[in-house]
Amino acid sequence: MATPHPRRAVKQTSRWTLLIAAIPAVPALAGLAWSVWAAGGGLEGAFAGRTILARVAEPLLWRSAAWSLTIALVATALATGLAIAIALGYRGAASHDRVARSLAALPLPVPPLVVGLGAVLLLSQSGVLARVAAAFGWIAAPVEMPILLHDARGLGLIAALAWKEVGFLSLVACSIVAQLDPELAASARTLGMPSRAVTRRVVLPLLWRGLAPSVVAVLVFVLGNYELAALLGPADPLPLAVSIAERSRDAAPGALGEAHAAALLATLLALLAVVVHERPGRR
């Protein structure tokens, strides 16, 4: 029986790999094509590139995008910082380290909708925190509780997003730290590097290199999250995901096209985050 030439076998394998990789890409590209068509006026029967530009240039949309991007960056930075602190602070094999790592991952399976409803119960001015604070006399009445929900600063939303994502990021971070070669840190110490410097100069860069793709994924997820933004976000600026949903539910002619234009902008922002991460020359 003839054996296939090794180079041909490799070619066939890479062709199959490409096909498998195309499976998730095809629906995304089809969706993108759909949005381009709809944003350009295709749904109204008059597609034109300038319609997309006009719709994307709408100032309120950019306000929403800028606000949502800021919130996503802050929430992701918070979650990343916490995840790194947990991974570095509890990297040992002792039982309390294992318990701490497990506790940090607890938010992971909680659905975003549940996180949002929980945040409303906890953080609103009639919520648990406000009532407890009033009961202890820290504030005169629950209504004096600082505003944390539906506020333009997005404090409650940032807290909820960071809490939700710290579970995922700490799981990844702990897993990366566990796989680091202990010889690297040992060698650095042997060469006279203090323990803190080993963490800062050896462990942290390696951890960041492994964690960065997950951080980008979290940023993109947080940017597009609808449930938490709808439950906890302000009315002005309207979070980008809520703005897209609102436009898509509007019966006014052209509103659905505007929703697709807004979705294109959201996609562009997400792609930008990926491109920055994957930029040429990055190590």
């Binding site: 759909w34 597609f47 001015q125 009639s126 019966a251």
Partner: protein, 406 residues
């Protein structure tokens, strides 16, 4: 333009593929087929009803009471799927462009949705006038026989009637304001204790204020007029802008939905909630969502009453089954059941004086819970909806002039 054709064709092809790649079935002669034949042909079929699924009481009525009876009496399997307003319009527009067979047989619609669907000829009909139970419909009511001023012309069948009401707590606000002017004074005197939601109830509240400040509903009747809108829109938005600093959170935030407003009211953050259904307060009190001392309040300037309907999409795969379902929903039995406060408390579209005496008696002796508003008061203060364009303009302008204002 030329370059967009391949993209257009691709999208249309995708929708056609999603719809089964089939052209819309020819709509049978819905207006002339003998009713017995309609029922016979509907037997053994499935009816997909695209409807709002946002209220557990409504879902329980449809899934737990309507569906089993349709299966038992007509051999129809009722399948409900989520979808409302613009979702329905957008879906049907897309399917029509692709000449695709529809995904739904029956749709729950009213107002601007009906106007958009009729404008784009996306509804089958006429058929509603020939349902056997249509003879009981209250055809003397302007709010039933016209949908946002648009004549039904047999393209939708009414199945429920509601009226807007404010909700207040008799313990917290023993003497509530009873006119729009008094409400403004109350809001000024109680900063932070009033707001409205960003959804349909909030827009209806705006429309009530528009009527009150604009000289009554008559000013806005007779179709949408740009000049009328221009003359009165400023009055409404200046009223709102002046009061906004006295709203909950100084008007910098508004509850996303009426459910969020109910929560703020129940938790004591605000002193008023609102609902498009005057009976909702009774149901919510029974469910323990609102305090027992919560009551509905109609403003003396008049509050908007409107009717909800079911329509059959022009590309519905099973229009005959949908007609049977629409007829059952219109039956005195179904109308009485959903009117019960413990079920849904949705108002009936039937005229009591047209019903057989035993059914009229059952409606008359229906258990009216404490706090339910008397029918005479509801009728006296009911104001009809005006052209759907007013609603659309209010929503768009409120977002621009109030919500997004610094």
């Amino acid at each position: 333009m030329r370059s967009s054709r391949p993209l257009h064709a691709l999208v249309i092809a995708l929708v056609a593929a999603c719809g089964g790649g089939d052209r819309a079935a020819d709509t049978p002669e819905l207006a002339t087929m003998a009713w017995d034949d309609v029922v016979a042909q509907a037997r053994g079929t499935t009816v997909t009803w695209r409807m709002w699924r946002g209220d557990p009481s409504v879902n329980a009525f449809v899934d737990g009471w309507v569906a089993p009876r349709l299966a038992e009496r007509y051999g129809i399997t009722l399948r409900t799927v989520e979808g409302q307003g613009p979702d329905i319009v957008n879906q049907l527009r897309l399917e029509a462009q692709a000449s695709a067979r529809g995904q739904a047989d029956l749709v729950w619609i009213n107002g601007e949705t009906f106007a958009a669907l009729r404008r784009d000829t996306l509804l089958a009909g006429p058929w509603a006038h020939r349902l056997p139970n249509a003879r009981y419909v209250d055809s003397s009511s302007a709010t039933v026989i016209r949908d946002f001023e648009r004549p039904l012309e047999g393209y939708e069948s009414p199945w429920g009637r509601v009226q807007f009401a404010l909700i207040y707590d008799t313990l917290r606000t023993p003497t509530p304001p009873r006119t729009v002017a008094a409400l403004a004074e109350w809001i000024r005197a109680h900063p932070g204790r009033f707001t409205h939601d960003q959804g349909f109830a909030g827009a209806t509240f705006h429309k009530i204020v528009l009527y009150a400040l604009g000289g009554g509903v008559a000013t806005f009747q007779g179709g949408f007029r740009e000049a009328t809108w221009a003359a009165h829109a400023d009055t409404l938005f200046e009223w709102l802008a002046a009061l906004r600093p006295m709203f909950w959170r100084q008007g910098e935030a508004f509850p996303p939905s009426v459910a969020d407003l109910h929560r703020l009211f129940a938790n004591g953050e605000v002193d008023f909630s609102m609902s498009n259904n005057q009976h909702e307060v009774v149901t919510k009190v029974r469910q323990g969502i609102l305090p027992a001392s919560a009551r509905a309040l109609l403003l003396e300037d008049g509050t908007i009453a409107n009717t909800h309907y079911v329509g059959i999409p022009a590309n519905a795969p099973n229009p005959l089954g949908a007609m049977v379902v629409a007829d059952f929903l219109l039956s005195p039995e179904a109308q009485l059941e959903k009117r019960r406060p413990e079920v849904w408390a949705d108002g009936t579209v039937l005229a009591r004086d047209r019903l057989p005496p035993d059914w009229a008696m059952r409606f008359a002796t229906l258990d009216t819970a404490a706090g339910a508003l008397p029918d005479s008061m509801l009728a006296r203060l009911a104001r009809p909806e005006v052209a759907a364009e007013y609603h659309d303009r209010i929503v768009a302008e409120w977002r621009r002039r109030i919500r997004a204002a610094p």
